[in-house]
């Protein structure tokens, strides 16, 4: 392991993608819960709980994509064609999801259409992200700096499984978010969904964790031989701690705890994926050093990133602080 510009940037991109998952994950989860909410008022409240922050959350996805283009152009130029269909589907899903925030309050008779667009768009985006993740874990066929596989290589039983896991996992994030941010009937309804999705998420994490090492000898070696095998104890232990935190928070009605615990589960799973991947950026052939652009590019953007990312975190935190606490009816004044 060498601590150079490419390594630092791989870490920053990893953080950007993680930030996207934990932040937009609950927005998309709220979207997918939309059809199961009790009334139009509950849907208003649920939407208003994420309306002030969703745009900033989605921007991490632009940073993930744009950052890849800037510092790992070879990874960008091979992963994106390989995941063509799921990525296009994700973009189209995010279009419906994004515009629904502004269109739904403006619509009268067609309001149900934007309810549908909000939920359907969130569902498609979440499922497509899971598909893309699964396909990337399985590996991408690259010859001569170009994607060399077929147009449906991304479609496998494993990627369908990760797609499903992403849908359920994001719904868990969304329901615990609503437990934290709302009151009364909506909160209690979200609580029931948090129990259900929490249980299913754990089952899916278990299955995927057992299957993944057998997809690629590198992964198997990483998890079952020294020193990587340490992680085989540490990662599940951390996950169990998150589960305990979630369970206790739900039982004792500490409304912020289940959300934090569910987010921590995502972080632990994400770290697990990174452990499998390292040092590859496009498994099974391109390492992060092979994918990296020249140092001039990496250095130039790093200067800005080191100054700007802390500032971004500050004003993002401020935006969350402004809208802290439970949302009340009439808060969003659309």
């Amino acid at each position: 392991m060498s601590f150079d510009l490419a390594f630092i940037w791989a870490g920053l991109i990893a953080i950007a993608v993680l930030a996207y998952v934990v932040l937009d994950g609950f927005d998309l989860g709220v979207g997918m819960l939309f059809p199961f909410l009790g009334s139009d008022e509950e849907r208003d409240l649920a939407m208003n709980s994420v309306a002030p922050v969703w745009d900033g959350n989605e921007t991490w996805l632009v940073l993930g994509g744009g950052g890849l283009f800037a510092v790992f152009p070879l990874a960008y130029a091979t992963i994106l064609p390989a995941l063509y269909a799921p990525l296009i589907a994700m973009l189209l899903g995010l279009i419906f999801r994004g515009v629904s925030f502004e269109f739904r309050p403006r619509a009268d008779r067609s309001r149900f259409l934007w309810d549908l667009g909000f939920a359907g768009g969130s569902l498609v985006a979440a499922f497509a992200q899971g598909l893309a993740l699964g396909a990337l874990v399985q590996g991408i066929d690259v010859v001569d700096r170009a994607y060399a596989g077929g147009w449906f290589d991304w479609l496998t039983p494993f990627s369908l499984l990760t797609g499903l896991a992403m849908v359920i996992g994001y719904t868990l994030l969304g329901s615990t978010w609503l437990v934290m941010k709302t009151d009364g009937a909506l909160r209690d309804r979200a609580e029931r969904w948090a129990w259900r999705t929490g249980a299913v998420t754990l089952v899916l994490i278990g299955i995927i964790s057992l299957v993944t090492p057998f997809l690629n000898p590198v992964y198997l070696h990483r998890w079952f031989s020294w020193p990587g095998s340490i992680f085989s104890f540490v990662v599940p232990a951390l996950l169990l701690f998150c589960v305990w935190l979630f369970w206790r928070g739900m039982r004792e009605r500490r409304d912020a705890h289940p959300f934090i615990a569910a987010q921590a589960m995502f972080v632990v799973c994400y770290i697990g994926i990174l452990i499998s991947f390292y040092p590859y950026m496009v498994p099974p052939s391109i390492t992060l050093w092979q994918a990296a652009g020249p140092d001039e590019s990496l250095g130039f953007l790093l200067v800005g990133a080191l100054v700007l990312i802390p500032m971004i975190l500050c004003y993002t935190a401020y935006a969350y602080w402004v809208f802290r606490g439970k949302v009340r009816p009439g808060d969003g004044y659309h």
Partner: protein, 472 residues
């Protein structure tokens, strides 16, 4: 061969379609964000609630437009990789960091403060809220800075080298960002965004003045918009001319296509209209003014103007498109100047709010900015073909190893979704614009009012002066 040709045609059409749909939103929201900052600033300064009501009126419209800009922009940032992966691999080291800076300095700033701007006035108070509005406005301008640096580098690349993998690598960042066409393109586009907004605001003001010429909110917005038209439209003509001369220096083939010059000539005419025929390599039915073309381009009546035929056949942009798109942009620009002058005259005569023909003209000109922006971008983008990086990387060599069916299917999906979603969005925006701005306080309504049939606040709440025969 034919399958590859299909894939690249489809990929080019997809890019043209998605980028054209996208640019219409920032063209409006860049100007509107600045307008919102001005309105809120005026409210804080003058303590006149009329400005606050106008701010809230346009803020709602901004939210809808900005949302559409965000989601259509996300598509662009991924399309470089899905459809143009060879371009992405080769230019990533140079262009990627510029777009990275766009995300870090602009997108997060806009998105972070947008929530506070839209929903937070009661929570943070007027001053912090004004700061949030200003941050959103500044963010849109920073975004324009970076993305136009990217586009300009593709048009006039400088400050680069090429490594063993065939990638462009940065040698001098200053030269990369401030490449020769960038300052001109940036000024031209930001002015275009301001004019686009001004004419939309002007049209909405005119619409409500046509219904009720005492509507004070409509008066304020119409007046502000017409000042912009009067001052900025002529500046834009000058900026556009300078941009054109810069293009002549760096991309002479584009200018030849815009002007419709096929033959290289001394003392070339200015071709007003005609039917360019790329196949035959000549202009049919040309209506021209002798020698004026040379005068404009070279500042010499007998200057030499290079024609399209002097470029290799496979390096000629299509004059059949560029000649027309350039003329459309120019005609719209002239019409904008005319409206500005007309409004100036009307203002001098004190009839700015009474001239219903001016209001009708301003209403018709409402979408003119979008037309000019699209025509201008078509001119510059079709005019730089067949290159993605001018003179260095062919469009045909930039595409992903892609399947025509995959591009075709995604293109169909984009077309259907864009027409549905952005069609609905446009409908909601127009419906919002149809609502009166709702500013009840009528200012400066003349002697009848001060004579006072019903003086005091009740009049401001319930009554319109003209119902009592009042006249401004």
């Amino acid at each position: 061969m034919s399958a590859a040709a299909t894939a690249i045609d489809l990929a080019r059409f997809q890019f043209a379609f998605t980028v054209s749909a996208h640019i219409t939103f920032p063209a409006f929201s860049i100007g509107l964000a600045s307008y919102l900052a001005v309105l809120e600033g005026l409210w804080l300064w003058k303590r006149d609630d009329a400005y606050l009501k106008l701010f809230k009126y346009w803020k709602t419209i901004f939210a809808v437009v900005f949302g559409m800009g965000v989601v259509s922009g996300l598509v662009m940032s991924y399309q470089f990789g899905t459809n143009w992966s060879v371009f992405a691999d080769k230019t990533g080291p140079v262009l990627g960091p510029l777009m990275g800076y766009e995300v870090l300095t602009a997108f997060f700033l806009e998105a972070g403060f947008l929530g506070v701007m839209l929903f937070g006035l009661e929570r943070v108070g007027p001053r912090l809220h004004f700061l949030a509005t200003a941050m959103v406005a500044i963010g849109t301008l920073i975004s324009a800075f970076w993305i136009l640096a990217v586009n300009s580098w593709m048009q006039t690349p400088t400050g680069y080298g090429v490594n063993t993998d065939g990638q462009f690598i940065p040698l001098d960042w200053w030269a990369v960002i401030f490449n020769p066409s960038f300052p001109y393109r940036l000024v031209h586009m930001v002015l275009a965004a301001y004019l686009t907004t001004a004419f939309v605001v002007g049209a909405v003001g005119a619409w409500h003045l046509l219904r009720d010429r005492y509507d004070s909110g409509a008066r304020i917005m119409f007046s502000m918009a017409m000042w912009m038209a009067l001052i900025v439209a002529p500046i834009q003509i000058v900026a556009g001319d300078m941009h054109g001369l810069n293009t002549l220096e760096h991309q002479p083939a584009k200018i030849a296509a815009m002007e419709g010059h096929y033959e290289t000539r001394d003392g070339a005419p200015l071709i007003l209209f005609g039917m360019p025929d790329d196949e035959a390599g000549k202009m049919r039915y040309a209506l021209e003014i002798p020698k004026l073309g040379s005068m404009i381009l070279t500042h010499d009546w007998n200057g030499r103007v290079r024609g399209l035929l002097s470029f290799p056949q496979d390096e000629r942009p299509r004059a059949e498109i560029v000649f027309w798109s350039f003329r459309i942009m120019l005609a719209v620009g002239m019409a904008m100047v005319a409206i500005g002058l007309w409004s100036g005259l009307a203002r001098l005569r004190g009839r700015l709010y009474d001239s219903s023909w001016l209001h009708r003209a301003a209403l018709v000109m409402g979408p003119s900015g979008f037309l000019a922006v699209l025509a201008g971008w078509i001119t510059t983008e079709v005019g730089r073909q067949p290159w993605t990086v001018y003179g260095l990387l062919h469009t045909a060599d930039s595409i992903s190893p892609i399947d025509g069916a995959a591009v075709g299917a995604s293109l169909m999906a984009f077309i259907m979704v864009y027409f549905t979603v952005f069609g609905a969005g446009t409908f909601y925006v127009l419906r919002l614009m149809n609502q009166p701005p709702g500013v009840e306080v009528v200012e400066n309504t003349g002697p009848t009012r001060s004579a006072g049939i019903m003086p005091g606040p009740s009049m401001e709440l319930h009554d319109r002066p003209h119902e009592y025969g009042g006249r401004p």
